[in-house]
């Protein structure tokens, strides 16, 4: 596929290339993931090599079945590759034991899922500090306060998930992802179940996390509006990276998706 790039995009692209001196937060090298066996096997990832920069908000877009979720799961150590490598920092995940992967997720990664983000038995505050509690650590109180403040949950902290709105629940999940200062936060269709207002407020929060706290975020979405909050969009189709876009706008993202048949 040929790339049709505007001049500013080319500049941007070049800038990205030169910034490569720093280690990417995560990367894959020729990642292949095959689901199933024999005739029914599906190549969910078909040789994906991608680098996800630090302190950036990257969106992975693609139609359903494009392999975007699989890519994220593999990057996050939730799934393993059939061949190829995944690195978080300089750690190759394929070499890690289940125990080490768990520790990696707990200490270095954060997650925001589409739904089932929270434990119904814990209060919002307890949910936020859960990964720290599992690691036997306590939260840095100043940081915790700041995160809660940014998420805007101050008065809802003692509520249980069932007493929170969908948007609030996701913000709690976001705060939880942020509180342990992970190297990367992975977000899987975070706004999928939200109305546009609540979705917007969550995306603004993610944006701020990157801009104000230097957080690295990788978000899987098929929503061009959500993707437009990112610094960079990686487009996937049929398990391959087919395109990418820097400093996207909603309109351009929509265009691209249309082009991909999404």
């Amino acid at each position: 596929m040929t790339m049709l790039m505007t001049a500013p995009e080319l500049v941007e692209s070049w800038a990205r290339m030169t910034a490569k001196a720093t280690t990417p937060a995560a990367r894959t090298v020729n990642a292949v993931k095959i689901h199933g066996r024999g005739n029914t096997s599906v190549r969910a990832l078909d040789g994906v090599s991608v680098e996800l920069e630090q302190n950036r908000f990257t969106a992975i877009m693609g139609p359903s079945g494009s392999g975007k979720s699989t890519l994220m799961h593999c990057l996050a150590g939730l799934d393993t590759l059939s061949s190829g490598q995944v690195y978080v920092g300089d750690k190759e995940l394929g070499t890690l034991s289940e125990r080490a992967l768990t520790k990696l997720r707990r200490d270095r990664l954060g997650f925001i899922f589409q739904a089932y983000n929270l434990l119904p038995t814990l209060t919002a505050a307890e949910n936020i500090t859960l990964p720290l509690a599992l690691a036997g650590r306590s939260a840095d109180p100043l940081w915790l306060e700041l995160v809660i403040d940014v998420v805007g949950l101050g008065d809802r902290l003692s509520h249980r998930p069932s007493e929170l709105s969908g948007g609030e629940q996701l913000r709690v999940a976001a705060a939880r992802a942020l509180v342990s200062r992970p190297e990367i936060i992975f977000a899987d269709e975070p706004t999928g179940s939200l109305d546009s207002r609540a979705g917007g407020s969550l995306l603004n929060f993610l944006r701020r996390a990157v801009d104000d706290f230097g957080q690295t975020i990788v978000m899987v979405t098929h929503d061009p509006v959500a993707a437009s909050f990112a610094d960079r969009i990686v487009f996937l189709a049929d398990g391959r990276i087919v395109d990418e876009m820097f400093e996207p706008s909603v309109g351009r993202a929509v265009e691209h998706m249309k082009y991909l048949g999404g």
Partner: protein, 841 residues
């Protein structure tokens, strides 16, 4: 509909837990029926085989009907009666029989006393058929085939045989072809003179056996003999004698069936709780699926039938498995029953179709009834439920339950109290009380679940941190489910606890009785199980009197008598010495001093019941002397041995021919060295193997062993209820894990290690088990107190709570929660994180 049910059954993995519970309970039900049939058929077989030697038996009439579980005592016959009977035409052969206690020893000199059955010695009967050897002469013995085989005894061997009055060596002259009698464990047969010498009294025989000529039927011969017999004697067919024996033994085991069925019922109830809980969890989990069915046009009735059909299918298959296991259970129960010392003639296990039917009916009924409420809840699922994916509903315990729950529990407890103090009819009050307490607890348990789980979880949280905290939250999130899961364990622990309390209380009461009221230094009793040897020979008391170190001897005898058709027992004491041996209260002491050789003493509560006062005449029917009216000389509340009626030894000698002594109390002479004196007393008894000399501590130990022997099998069977309770925890946890798959996936994704996940499941199991155990402990304390109070009049005067034992029980059951967690924890830990997150039920 059938298709729906089949679809539902593909989930049977989740139902394995309840299937196991039903299987266990049903195996108890079927096992009980199989056991009962086995016992009945064993006695029938034994009866059928024991009628061959003679046609007619001449014996003394029984003065009154015997107690349900024993044959009536009969007087011996004068030897002169032989000549009288011999004059009757139609007799082919006749012989006198003498029967008594005779215990063989094996080659190492140990007494052969298998199964606690009587060991019998009799006189040689012409009808006895030998397998090898010949009929015994003086100094010889013929023994039964079973004993000969089991203890490798052969013709020509020399064995020592113990009698009530001593022991003698015999040479085995023959081995009987027939094995053993229905009522005997071992049988030694002697020539008539030896038999009379050791087993009977000179000039007396126990019965006369008659064989009819072929020309005379047993019935006509019986009529002829009866026509010439004096009034105190009767001729009956040998068949009737055997039937009576079989009936008596079957009756003596009559308590077994209801007792075992009661235990099976407990297991069924616990199982039903578990089933109800499981189905309500399943219905809750399948809300979405049921909603979809409703949306697609299923009627509420169809949903109800779907759940019920599923329950019934599980019930049927689990019950069938239970029946199969019941065969094994029957073997186990037979062993338990024998272990308690109840005698059952050996026989193979009998399986009749009704054992299977009863098991399946009970199992299916319990499953279906238990699933009824959940099935009703399934009908309440609205079609909309399919659309909003609320897979789990967390239910909160309503505080509104506290009031009614507490009131019902208290009312139940009050009824129990009223029953145990006899303020109300015991049985009714106890039944209503138990029901009240259980219903009250059922209401209260969900309310208690939260706080108790919180408290139990506290030390776990301190030890294991976050996983334990999550486990505690899980246990508290659905108090009704936690309560329902714990309830099954509660009942099991409660009942085992009650047995522990009753056992401890009985032991303590026995101890207190010996420590506080026994003044005798030594007690001489019969060795072996009571009834197998009858008692001590009268020579024991005389020998003790002639032992120099003995200061005072007081013997106690026991006998049966009839009161208006019912059988009563009495004790015969020596009024002059009995209070030196046993401390009694002042009023009872005064009564003993009033006892002469013509009157009777009556327990005060019994006298009150009959509205008797001092001076009234009690119509007492004795086997030997017929009905006599004895004046009441006094009323007592405490006596040496528990009894309701007391007469003097002289009065006993007049009314009873049976010379055996129940026990002899001994006080050592002043100034003798106790240890030395005791050794001398033992030496004086050394040739009387039936006489067991016990000091206070030995007496205590033997009483305690007796209590253990009867109650520990009950506790063992109730342990099954505990097992089912634990199974319930495992089942509920497995279901919860299934329903919380996504949550577990989330936990794993945000960094919970497998070990932490396992720890969490284990902690939850321990918290639920701990809750059930603690509630069970409460139940045990309440019911234990009520049970002990209820048997206060039977001599259980002390209420003892075996704190250590109960604490162990609770701790063990709580820790057993870990066992219950093994499978669920493994399943949870093996969840693939990604599958769990993606899982969409």
């Amino acid at each position: 509909m059938a298709r729906l049910v089949r679809a539902a059954l593909t989930r049977t993995g989740r139902l394995i837990g309840i299937a196991l519970a039903v299987t266990l309970a049903v195996s108890l039900v079927s096992g009980t029926f199989i056991l009962t049939d086995t016992i009945a058929s064993a006695f029938q077989a034994a009866t059928a085989s024991s009628t061959s030697t003679s046609d007619i038996v001449v014996r003394a009439t029984a003065g009154f009907t015997a107690q349900a579980n024993s044959l009536p005592e009969r007087e011996p016959l004068p030897e002169s009666l032989l000549a009288t009977v011999a004059a009757v035409p139609g007799i082919q052969a006749m012989w006198a029989t003498v029967q008594g206690y005779a215990a063989m020893t094996d080659k190492s000199g140990k007494v052969i006393a298998p199964d606690g059955l009587p060991t019998v010695g009799t006189s040689w009967a012409p009808g006895d058929i030998l397998d090898v050897g010949r009929a015994p002469h003086r100094g010889e013995v013929a023994i039964d085939l079973t004993t000969a085989r089991r203890y490798h005894l052969h013709v020509g061997d020399n064995i020592r045989i113990l009698f009530q009055g001593g022991a003698q060596n015999f040479t085995i002259a023959g081995v009987l072809r027939r094995t053993v009698d229905i009522v005997a464990a071992t049988k030694a047969i002697f020539d008539p003179n030896t038999a009379t010498q050791w087993l009977g009294q000179k000039g007396e025989v126990d019965a006369i056996a008659v064989r009819a000529q072929p020309s005379a039927t047993p019935a006509t011969l019986r009529a002829r003999i009866n026509a010439i017999l004096p009034s105190r004697f009767e001729a009956v067919t040998a068949r009737q004698v055997a039937d009576e024996a079989a009936q008596s033994w079957t009756k003596s085991l009559g308590f077994l069936t209801p007792g075992l069925l009661l235990l099976a019922g407990v297991a069924l109830i616990v199982g039903a709780l578990l089933i109800g809980n499981t189905f309500s969890i399943l219905v809750g989990q399948r809300t979405r699926e049921l909603g979809l069915l409703r949306a697609l046009g299923a009627s509420p009735g169809q949903l109800r039938r779907l759940v019920l059909a599923e329950a019934t299918a599980v019930g049927i298959s689990a019950s069938l498995a239970g029946v199969a296991i019941g065969l094994g259970a029957a073997h186990g129960m037979l062993a338990l029953v024998r272990g308690v010392g109840l005698s059952i003639p050996t026989s193979s296990v009998v399986f009749r179709i009704h054992s299977a039917v009863a098991g399946v009916v009970c199992g299916v009924a319990a499953t279906t009834v238990a699933a009824f409420l959940p099935a009703r809840r399934a009908t309440l699922v609205s079609p909309v439920a399919a659309l909003n994916g609320s897979a789990t509903r967390s239910e909160r315990a309503r505080a509104a339950r506290i009031g009614p729950g507490a009131v019902t529990t208290l009312a139940g407890a009050t009824m129990l109290a009223a029953g145990s103090t006899h303020a109300l009819p015991t049985l009714v009050a106890t039944g209503v009380g138990v029901a009240g307490v259980l219903i009250g607890l059922a209401l209260l348990l969900p309310v208690l679940a939260g706080p108790v789980a919180y408290a139990i979880g506290a030390p776990l949280v301190r030890l294991f941190g976050q996983p334990a905290a999550l486990a505690r939250q899980n246990a508290m999130r659905n108090p009704r489910r936690t309560a329902a899961t714990a309830a099954a364990l509660m009942i099991g622990i409660g009942l085992v606890g009650v047995i522990a309390i009753v056992t401890a209380s009985m032991k303590a009461s026995a101890t207190a009785a010996v420590r506080q009221t026994l003044r005798a230094d030594l007690v001489v009793m019969t060795s072996g199980t009571p009834g197998s040897s009858g008692g001590l020979p009268p020579s024991v008391a005389d020998r003790l009197r002639h032992t120099p170190e003995v200061g005072l001897v007081s013997e106690i005898r026991a006998g049966q008598w009839g009161l208006g058709g019912a059988t009563e027992t009495l004790l015969a004491i020596d009024p002059a010495t009995v209070t030196d041996m046993h401390e009694v209260d002042a009023a009872s002491m005064a009564a003993v001093h009033q006892l002469d050789d013509t009157g009777v003493l009556v327990r005060d509560t019994v006298a009150e019941h009959h509205r008797w006062k001092i001076g009234d005449l009690v119509p007492m029917t004795f086997a030997r002397t017929g009905t006599r009216r004895l004046p009441i000389r006094g009323l007592f509340s405490t006596m040496a041995v528990r009894t309701d009626y007391v007469i003097s030894l002289k009065a006993f000698a007049v009314n009873y021919a049976q010379p055996l002594i129940l026990a002899v109390d001994v006080k050592l002479a002043k100034g003798v060295t106790p240890g030395l004196a005791e050794a001398n007393v033992r030496r004086a008894m050394s040739d009387l193997p039936v006489a067991k000399v016990m000091d206070r501590s030995q007496l205590l130990a033997s009483q305690q062993a007796q209590i253990d022997k009867y109650l520990s099998p009950v506790a063992a069977l109730l342990g099954l209820a505990v097992l089912i309770g634990l199974l319930g925890i495992a089942n509920a946890l497995a279901l919860s894990i299934h329903e919380r798959t996504r949550e577990l996936g989330l936990l794993r994704a945000v960094g919970m290690a497998r070990t932490q996940l396992r720890a969490m499941i284990r902690c939850e199991a321990v918290i639920i088990a701990g809750f059930g155990s603690l509630a069970g402990l409460g139940l045990a304390l309440g019911f234990g107190w009520a049970s002990v109070s209820a048997v206060h009049d039977l001599g259980v005067t002390e209420l003892v709570v075996p704190v250590g034992q109960l604490a162990m029980l609770v701790a063990a059951a709580t820790a057993a929660g870990l066992l219950a967690a093994i499978v669920p924890a493994r399943r949870a830990a093996n969840l693939q994180v990604l599958d769990a997150i993606r899982d969409s039920h």
